[in-house]
């Protein structure tokens, strides 16, 4: 137990007092006992007892943790992790090209970030994923529930109902084509009302509410253990205005990122964030880059950037630990997020139903 006092999770003032009194290792603290400790540092007996409890937990807690709790210091070999990963499912997006470049779909236990200009389809994909996570396992889904944290107010229930209805219909078609008993049984519970009742919606209006919600999320997730997807739609929005102190913003964002990684890991769920784009003005040109700065770029494990190419929407996989960078095209129809139809079908480019909330892209506005 030669753990140094400086590495124990105590309040800074307490740590300073311990250092001034000459304590160096945790073992010395345990040897002194609460009475000696309170006398030497000048704190009350109760505070000394608390300090010793923390020290004991740190030094002896490892044995309890490695016995199989959900502690994040769980050690395992790469072989065990490989087996775990191979048995994990993906959340499909109904756009097979996107699923291919992601390696099967949105991965559980990882943070995926979707960046894009306004109107390109980030919220649409989030709503599609909130429906797709509930697809039963016999159809290839993960049969989980979804948490949707909305900061921009862009969640439209009627649109989700449309997407869900299309998804249910798709599954019905598959069940009829394959004529298997368990598929039909699974469809009995996979209905519109069921899907909508398993999307837990939270509305956060500023960054303190968002931080509080994320800190309270682990409790919520341990009560609702079937949640497999956490969506935060608009993580940039509360952090981009009314922030004078940029270093505070970096610190809060990084703390938030670590919280989200812990949630993704402990509860085996996928975390999806959407980000905005900002312009970086270089020497001779200006480029669109994801917002929230350089340090935020490291928070997400997988980064997708959605952009326009004339009137075609494209998705680029920019950062991923296991897949190569590539770009594909996708479509947003009245049924939700879909592949681009092959060019043999003539009505493909006019088939995009205009999303009533966003203004349509026209030729004049592209200047």
């Amino acid at each position: 137990m030669q753990r140094e006092v400086g590495t124990l999770p105590l309040a800074p003032a307490l740590r300073a007092r311990l250092a001034a009194a000459g304590f160096q290792t945790a073992q010395e603290l345990l040897d002194t006992g609460p009475c000696g400790l309170s006398k030497e540092i000048g704190i009350s007996r109760e505070e000394a007892l608390e300090v010793l409890q923390v020290v004991r937990q740190e030094c002896h807690g490892d044995a309890a943790r490695t016995a199989g709790g959900s502690g994040a210091t769980r050690k395992c070999t790469a072989l065990e992790l490989l087996e775990e990963e191979q048995s994990q499912g993906f959340i499909i997006t109904f756009c097979s090209a996107l699923d291919n470049i992601l390696g099967g779909g949105v991965q559980l236990t990882k943070i995926t970030e979707i960046c894009g200009a306004p109107g390109v389809g980030k919220t649409q994909l989030c709503m599609q994923l909130a429906v797709d996570v509930q697809i039963p396992e016999c159809f290839g889904g993960v049969a989980g529930e979804a948490v949707f944290i909305d900061t921009e107010g862009s969640f439209m229930v009627d649109r989700v109902a449309d997407i869900a209805a299309a998804c249910v219909q798709h599954c019905h078609l598959i069940a009829e084509a394959q004529q298997e008993e368990d598929l039909r049984k699974a469809l009995e519970t996979f209905s519109l009302e069921n899907i909508l009742s398993h999307i837990y919606y939270f509305r956060c209006r500023d960054y303190t509410e968002l931080l509080a919600q994320v800190y309270l999320l682990p409790e919520f997730l341990s009560e609702h253990s079937k949640v497999r997807l956490v969506v935060i739609d608009g993580i940039a929005f509360p952090f981009r205005h009314d922030f004078e102190d940029l270093s505070l913003r970096t610190r809060l964002l990084n703390g938030l990122a670590q919280q989200l990684i812990i949630i993704a890991n402990d509860h085996k769920s996928a975390v999806v964030l959407t980000n905005q784009m900002t312009t970086r003005i270089g020497q001779s040109q200006s480029t669109l880059v994801p917002a929230l700065g350089e340090s935020w770029g490291h928070a997400a494990t997988v980064r997708l950037i959605f952009h326009w190419d004339n009137s075609q929407r494209l998705a680029t996989l920019y950062k991923s630990p296991s897949q190569k960078e590539s770009t594909i095209a996708y479509h947003i129809t009245s049924h939700g997020f879909r592949d681009v139809q092959p060019p043999a079908v003539t009505h493909s480019t006019e088939g995009t139903e205009p999303n009533p909330r966003k203004r349509p892209r026209t030729e004049e506005e592209k200047q």
């Binding site: 769980r74 890991n265 630990p321 296991s322």
Partner: protein, 328 residues
């Protein structure tokens, strides 16, 4: 600043300590730097006993100088150079990763730091048959990608043997063994990281060979993810913890002859300034070698697997050398 305690050395009893404390001598430094005749008179203790205690305390707590030749001999026998599996990177690092030192890989998001770390872990575990400890703080460790790299490496070596089924099974067994030698610990905040390093130190000093084995390499991906939430503002606690961490890493590397590799982020001063490594000036003294990874293209629209690695700080090579790496 160790406090004087009974039992610190033979001859130091509780009564002696009380008497010394009454005269303002609380720590070892106070004792050793005070005039013993004075102390003997004021505390009415025997001068001989005090001198004996001082001798033992000096032997216990002082650092002894060694001469350069002895140090050189010791380093020659205990330092190992671990090849990283990528010839370009080896050329940059003067033939590989040196044990006893901390090496840093820095780069922008998507520049390939995690990929290079996985490649190093695969090469050390497969090629050198050494154990590797991977501390993951970003959730970016993907075992399937590691397995892909291992397969690529074994297939390179056993190309002709693929027709023989027995050798193919041997490839598979080699890959499984290599995967078992890589231990992964997920640490998501600084205290968990410090606890994991302390456990490692306990294991190594007790020489428990079962799980750790002949450990030669510790990879930490990434160090800035755990320290960034603490830095900034008006509190200096973040800096103190960062320095504690750096001391742990360096003493682990030196005492147990490990090669420690950490990854770091890059930031900008303003939205158009040049890229610089994160964590500031204080951290820049910790690693002895720093390698910067960059993507070839400026924008994110073209996807390639080529990366440019340049040497930013090194005790052995001139800085500014650049090589091409393929992380595909």
């Amino acid at each position: 600043m160790v406090v004087l305690r009974a039992g610190l050395c033979p001859g130091l009893t509780e009564d002696m300590i009380q008497l010394l404390r009454a005269n303002g001598i609380r720590t070892v430094v106070d004792f050793v730097s005070s005039d013993l005749e004075d102390v003997a008179q004021k505390c009415s203790l025997s001068y001989k006993a005090l001198v004996a205690v001082r001798r033992v305390l000096l032997a216990q707590f002082s650092a002894f100088p060694t001469n350069g030749a002895d140090l050189y001999e010791e380093l020659k026998s205990s330092t190992a150079i671990l090849p990283t599996g990528s010839p370009g990177l080896d050329k940059l690092l003067d033939s590989g990763l040196y044990t006893g030192e901390v090496t840093e890989l820095m780069g922008a998001p998507g520049s390939g730091k995690t990929q290079v770390c996985l490649g190093i872990a695969a090469s050390v575990s497969l090629g050198l048959k050494q154990h590797v400890l991977f501390l993951d703080s970003t959730g970016g460790f993907t075992a399937s990608r590691l397995y892909q790299m291992l397969r690529a490496q074994t297939e390179d070596e056993e190309e002709q043997a693929r027709q023989v089924l027995g050798r193919l099974r041997l490839c598979f067994v080699l890959q499984l063994e290599a995967l078992q030698r890589i231990q992964v610990v997920r640490v998501f905040n600084i205290y968990e990281l410090l606890r994991a390093l302390q456990e490692l130190r306990d294991h190594l000093s007790q020489q428990v060979l079962s799980s750790v084995g002949p450990l030669k390499m510790v990879l930490l991906d990434s160090v800035s993810a755990v320290i960034y939430p603490l830095l900034g503002g008006r509190q200096s606690e973040g800096l103190a913890l960062m320095m504690q961490l750096s001391r742990e890493l360096k003493t682990l590397a030196r005492e147990f002859s490990l090669a420690v590799v950490v990854t770091n982020q890059v930031t900008r001063d303003s939205s158009s300034g040049p890229l610089k490594p994160a964590l500031g000036r204080s951290w820049s003294f910790v690693p002895s070698t720093r390698v910067l990874l960059e993507s070839r293209e400026g924008t994110w629209e073209k996807g390639t697997t080529q990366r440019a690695a340049s040497l930013a700080k090194s005790p052995r090579q001139p800085t500014g050398i650049q090589v091409e790496l393929d992380i595909g």
